[in-house]
Symmetry: none
DNA sequence: ACCTGACGGTCAAAGGTCCA
DNA sequence: ATGGACCTTTGACCGTCAGG
């Protein structure tokens, strides 16, 4: 048996793996979930299209897709021992040794009691006075927050009813959807009302992304304290990149040659029979190719995690070289970017050994220029499409991608 | 976890607690009330004075005060999880639709077929290649070579007579000037013959840079072994960035608001008296501003060294995301890039302590996207200038910046 | 005998359901 | 429409077992 390097991630959901289970490095949750599903011969129905994302934050959202992924990554049904001896006694009934002391009922009489373990996230009372084993992987609060936002994004994006903003001004004025802790409006996963017309699906999903992007941005205190024009500058600077990263990252994992939206609508590099009907979008085909080759594929190859993606989005968003930033804002933005960079590096360094850490760090950071390039391409295509008015672009997407402000609003 | 002593009361309403919920011993009612209030982001108004009593008997009387008390006694919002999958009806009442929700037998979804495919990236047991202790301060041969090239570049650039190549094909066919050990023709620092006409100075210097850039590229064995089309792809991809970095880095140190060539010819952000005479170049003014703000200034601020610049040029040149690279070349290019990255990181780590190392590493790598952006801008301006034929661009610069091949030459 | 990795079982605490 | 009794699911933790 090999020892699993500490910090290995669960292949199913990217939580920390507790070991190999059913032949796959996995976390306790996925291990137990898999066993129960198989033992009880459960079958689940996906309310979406069988391509829900599965990661630590949303792994409970769709059992069908979670089980499917367990199998896809190779969890071995045969490793489940159906006919194991009944264990019988457990801690309560146990008689480990005849010593019979026990007090089975309540152990808390003495030093055995442990301080009630605080739920994750809550502030802690007393640090266990004792020897205090390794504070393993002290979770970085900043990255945790970013990851949490990313998971909420996933839920909101694919399962919530969203009224896209009509303009950047509106978007900045409204409260962020991320601040209400969870606001899933009980819609079924992909009962999200959406256009049936294939030609309108992309604008539909893209305007959702941009809308959520702005809501995401508004959760950062640093962002909120920026002057109005600087807010707009940051939004404009990163919108297209955010969009592209989001679409690439959220394309279901087994898809490697298409960009796919949550409802199964997709773009592939080569015009499909579908797109032959909608010539109007064919202008985007080369951009899709670039997204696949230079964004989606590298993400897959690197096995970018949710946390890494979350950090990268923030690093790119807080870009001190954003055009038009005033110099005070530039310093603030730069400081925020640096904070995320430091957190990311630390996070990597607890999961990898030193040389691997630096390598992965560089690999992630070097995605930035390429993503920006593809984003610029995307904007260009939009401009061309816009010029010829080949199809109606959602006003918000238009503003952010084309850099054209439609409305003016002095805050 | 402790067992709650039987008879414990709900801290909110003094009903019997059913356990700890959201870190507080509480009853079922308060537990559910709290979750729903948070999840739906409810806010309630108190009809009284915000001090209504809350206990078993009257707990429903004022939701505002009930929620307030929940928070006061420490119920933990963070313990609320993301949306879960629907469970299905437990009692057979009300069936929304006879959908095949739970049916055993076979799953509805597609890809559930179960070839237990081995996990794609088992990511295990790769023996960490040699621990390889840091040969402290051992000069890195790769970086040394790069630095050496950079120094030679400086000499050649400012003090040598250079016949610019007429086309990329010619450039690739010729031997590299860097390979002749020393070929400085001992001209005085700026005795280099150059146009007196101010309007022709920039093209003059730029064509020198591009010429030397290609000679620089040809010194890399990896580059030489690339197929012809891939060589061109790399050159085209990086030419403009190389040019910009070169001009910014080589502007004398005391100059911080201009881009200056070795003969003193310069561009500043604001049209100077000089440039008033040469309207034809004014199209480049905004690009110059960007070069100053986003390339020159950051270089100064970081105090980028020659070695760091040299490494950065190589890292950017060996860009695996260069468009049009064939996949074998891509691997080779990527490997070379990685080598430089590793060397650079090592170099930094002997000069700085660990956290500073990572910080500087990131600062350097994050110059890449910005430089690329300015380079793209530069190319755009050239295209516009070219379109209006405002001035004659040197054919080589034209080819590399505009992506227009003038000649064809099958090697 | 003593680790250790990977099984199965347990139960506090989370979420979902549905009647009054 | 909403509260809350009652149910299911989750996953951290622990005992057990086989192989070293």
């Amino acid at each position: 048996m090999e020892k699993l390097p500490p910090g290995t991630l669960c292949v199913v959901c990217e939580d920390e793996a507790t070991g190999k289970h059913y032949s796959i490095p996995s976390c306790n949750g996925c291990k137990t979930f898999f066993r129960r599903a198989i033992v009880n011969n459960r079958t689940f129905a996906c309310m979406g299209h069988g391509n829900c994302p599965v990661n630590k934050g949303v792994r409970c959202a769709c059992r069908h897709c979670r089980l499917k992924k367990c199998l896809e990554v190779g969890m071995d049904k045969n490793a489940i021992q159906n006919d194991r001896d009944r264990i019988g006694y457990t801690k309560r009934t146990k008689r480990p040794r005849p010593s019979s002391d026990e007090m089975a009922g309540h152990t808390n009489g003495e030093g055995f009691s442990d301080p009630p373990q605080p739920s994750p996230g809550s502030s802690v009372g007393s640090p266990p006075s004792g020897p205090m084993l390794v504070p393993l992987a002290a979770p970085d609060p900043l990255l945790e927050r970013l990851t949490d936002l990313e998971n909420k994004f996933t839920l909101l994006f694919s399962r919530s009813i969203i009224e896209p903003y009509a303009s950047i001004d509106d978007a900045l004025a409204a409260p962020s959807r991320f601040c209400r802790p969870i606001d899933i409006q009980m819609s079924d996963p992909v009962a999200v009302p959406r256009p049936c017309d294939d030609q309108r699906k992309m604008p539909f999903w893209r305007s959702r992304i941009i809308t959520l992007f702005i809501d995401w941005a508004k959760t950062f205190p640093i962002f909120q304290n920026l002057p109005y024009t600087d807010k707009i500058a940051l939004i404009m600077n990163h919108a297209s990149s955010y969009l592209i990263m989001c679409e690439a990252f959220r394309t279901p994992e087994h898809i490697t040659d298409k960009i796919m939206h949550p409802d199964g609508h997709f773009f592939s590099r080569n015009p499909t029979p579908d797109s032959l009907f909608s010539k109007s979008l064919s202008g985007l085909t080369p951009v899709m190719g670039a997204m696949i080759d230079y964004v989606l594929r590298p993400f897959r190859q690197l096995k970018v995690t949710v946390t890494e993606l979350a950090a990268l989005q923030a690093i790119m968003f807080f870009d001190p070289d954003t055009e038009g930033l005033d110099s005070a804002s530039q310093r603030n933005v730069s400081a925020e970017q640096k904070r995320v960079l430091v957190s990311l590096y630390r996070q990597l360094s607890i999961r990898y050994d030193p040389s691997e850490t630096a390598e992965r760090y560089a690999s992630l950071l070097l995605r930035v220029p390429t993503i920006r390039k593809v984003a610029a391409k995307n904007n260009e295509s939009y401009q061309i499409l816009d010029m010829f008015k080949l199809f109606t672009i959602n006003p918000l997407v238009r503003e952010t991608a084309l850099g054209v402000r439609l409305t003016r609003h002095i805050p």
